[in-house]
């Protein structure tokens, strides 16, 4: 029994390690390529450890495209959408979770309906309107719709608040003369903090990795988000097969996401698991 158990554990570990190597290999290969010079990159058989290793590609790509500005643009969108959008979403979630009001279910169902609308259907009229009011090539079309909250977030927070906030607590606050907004801000918000954090982490990834929206609206390099910048580098350098430079760029684009992920890992896994199981 002991031997059998050890064998199973051994095989499990082996499988997981092989899987991890397959998963990580493309990342190592990216980093390795990004440190090679144009001659070494086509060495056969491929070398995993670049020799000589050089940071020139990073320097070159940093000056070839306004990457810093790209980071900044992505960050501006994320900050606005996450701070205001999440606050708005949690207000609505609280009302849906804890207060009875006429037409509550109907309104909620209507909002849920938006989840069914694919972005490609609404992007064309949105583009037409935003271009009429001269918002094209600004960050506004990417920020403003996000400020109105997000139904997926509202749904998730509502589920959480229904379970986590005891109605007695709200009643008690009411009797103490606490106003509606104060009850929300001092009781509901603190309790929902972990759920909001989870949504913030997911929302950050969503904004940061978004491509189609920024691609439609942002045209001048200085105004583009990091994803659009990186994609445009590809079209510039692929004809010259400058893979080291392209790999340096894509690695740079990944750094913030991976950093955020490592620091907020708990929230990601939690929110994914909760939304998946209850959705």
């Amino acid at each position: 029994m002991g031997l059998k158990r050890n064998l199973t554990t051994g095989f499990t570990l082996l499988f997981l390690i092989v899987g991890s190597i397959i998963t990580l290999a493309p990342f190592f290969w990216t980093i390795s390529t990004s440190l090679k010079n144009q001659q070494n990159v086509f060495d056969l058989p491929p070398k995993w450890i670049p020799d000589p290793a050089t940071f020139d590609n990073y320097r070159e790509v940093w000056s070839a495209a306004p990457l810093l500005q790209g980071f900044l643009n992505s960050a501006i969108i994320a900050v606005f959408v996450l701070s205001i959008g999440l606050f708005v979403s949690s207000m609505a979630a609280y009302a849906f979770a804890k207060i009875d009001f006429p037409f509550k279910e109907t309104i909620f169902l209507c909002l849920m309906g938006t989840m069914m609308i694919p972005y490609s259907v609404i992007m064309i009229p949105q583009f037409i309107v935003f271009s009429r009011i001269n918002w094209v090539d600004t960050l506004l079309p990417l920020i403003v719709p996000g400020l109105f909250g997000n139904i997926v977030v509202i749904f998730f927070l509502r589920q959480f608040m229904q379970g986590a906030i005891p109605s007695e607590l709200i009643e008690a606050a009411k009797l103490d003369g606490s106003g509606f907004f104060r009850t929300f801000a001092t009781i509901a918000l603190p309790i929902a903090k972990p759920a909001i954090a989870a949504q913030a982490a997911l929302g950050f990834m969503g904004v940061w990795n978004d491509f189609l929206g920024p691609l439609i609206y942002l045209h001048t390099p200085e105004k583009q988000t990091i994803q659009v910048l990186i994609a445009s580098l590809q079209s510039m350098y692929i004809s010259s097969s400058n893979y080291p430079l392209i790999m340096a760029a894509s690695f740079i684009a990944m750094i913030p996401v991976i950093l955020v992920f490592f620091f907020c890992q708990k929230y990601f896994v939690e929110s994914l698991a909760i939304s998946g199981l209850k959705g």
């Binding site: 899987g19 708005v88 009302a95 259907v121 990834m205 990795n209 189609l212 894509s250 684009a253 896994v269």
Partner: protein
């Protein structure tokens, strides 16, 4: 107390007002507008012309639209493949091995990585002459690898391969959570009845995870039908013989490259209706097979 109740209702409406306004401004109105646009011909320069069902009739005859639809349906293959791999990984990780959180993190990194960056690195991985994949195939199996992104038959498998690499981690986390919620008494009872490992897997594990299978399939179908970025980055022209183009890619081309807004809207509506129908079918079917506590 009645006045308090009225005040409370007022506040509640206030709290939901902004998302409702957002729903009208950025959901419902654009939806209606795009429906109307789909009956016009409009290049955004001259004024729109009402053309009746012409756009829809043309869609029906457009070979590129057929290809986009075919490619998108073909790509659905990655859903069962991905479910199989992620369930396998989740089951491995559910055996109390050490370092599970490390493995979970590793398998999850591709999920959170930006699609654009991932597409670029896979372009390099799949490079015909110098890519790691073909190198590996040659060194280990002496197989001459295909021209992944340059051959119309291999573009879709390439995208599926990349999609699996980037997607299994997310579903794995879901399955792991599901596995952990299955009570061990089921397995103990089955053991008493003399069930073997395979029977336990097919009779207990798979059915008890049915709500997760359902979630994964629904989200997978919706995601596949909305795929765009990887195609746009990896094969900006839609691939050899348009063999990688998705429906959204085709819509994008019509809207933002040819500025044929009416036609693009019609195609977008077609896509919306397809997604709606597929989702409804799945919900119908789920009543037959999904298990709920």
């Amino acid at each position: 107390m009645i006045s308090y109740r009225r005040k409370e209702i007022g506040w509640a409406y206030g709290f939901v007002a902004i998302p409702v306004l957002g729903f009208l401004l950025f959901g419902l109105l654009p939806l209606i507008a795009s429906g109307i646009l789909s009956f016009t011909k409009w290049d955004m320069v001259t004024s729109p012309k009402f053309v009746g069902f012409t756009n829809y009739v043309n869609l029906w005859k457009d070979e590129k639209v057929h290809k986009g639809l075919f490619n998108t349906f073909f790509m659905l293959i990655h859903i069962p493949l991905g479910m199989f791999i992620s369930l396998l990984l989740a089951m491995l990780m559910n055996q109390k091995v050490r370092g599970v959180s490390i493995f979970r993190t590793i398998f999850y990194i591709p999920v959170i990585s930006p699609v654009v960056a991932v597409s670029l690195l896979w372009m390099w991985m799949l490079n015909y002459d110098f890519g790691l994949v073909n190198q590996f195939l040659w060194d280990w199996f002496h197989i001459k690898g295909p021209n992944w992104l340059g051959d119309p038959h291999w573009v879709k498998p390439s995208l599926i391969l990349m999609g699996l690499w980037g997607g299994v981690g997310g579903n794995m986390v879901l399955y792991l959570a599901g596995l952990q919620s299955i009570s061990s008494t089921y397995y103990e009872a089955a053991e008493v009845d003399g069930a073997n490992a395979f029977q336990k897997f097919t009779r207990i594990t798979v059915p008890l995870l049915s709500n997760i299978h359902f979630f994964v399939v629904v989200m997978g179908v919706i995601g596949t039908f909305q795929a765009f970025s990887q195609v746009y980055v990896m094969v900006p022209d839609g691939g050899p013989e348009y063999s990688a183009a998705t429906v959204v890619f085709n819509i994008f081309q019509h809207a933002f490259e040819y500025f044929d807004m009416g036609y693009a809207s019609a195609e977008a509506w077609m896509l919306g209706v397809i997604i709606l129908i597929l989702t409804m079918i799945q919900f119908r079917l789920s009543k037959r097979w999904a298990y709920n506590d």
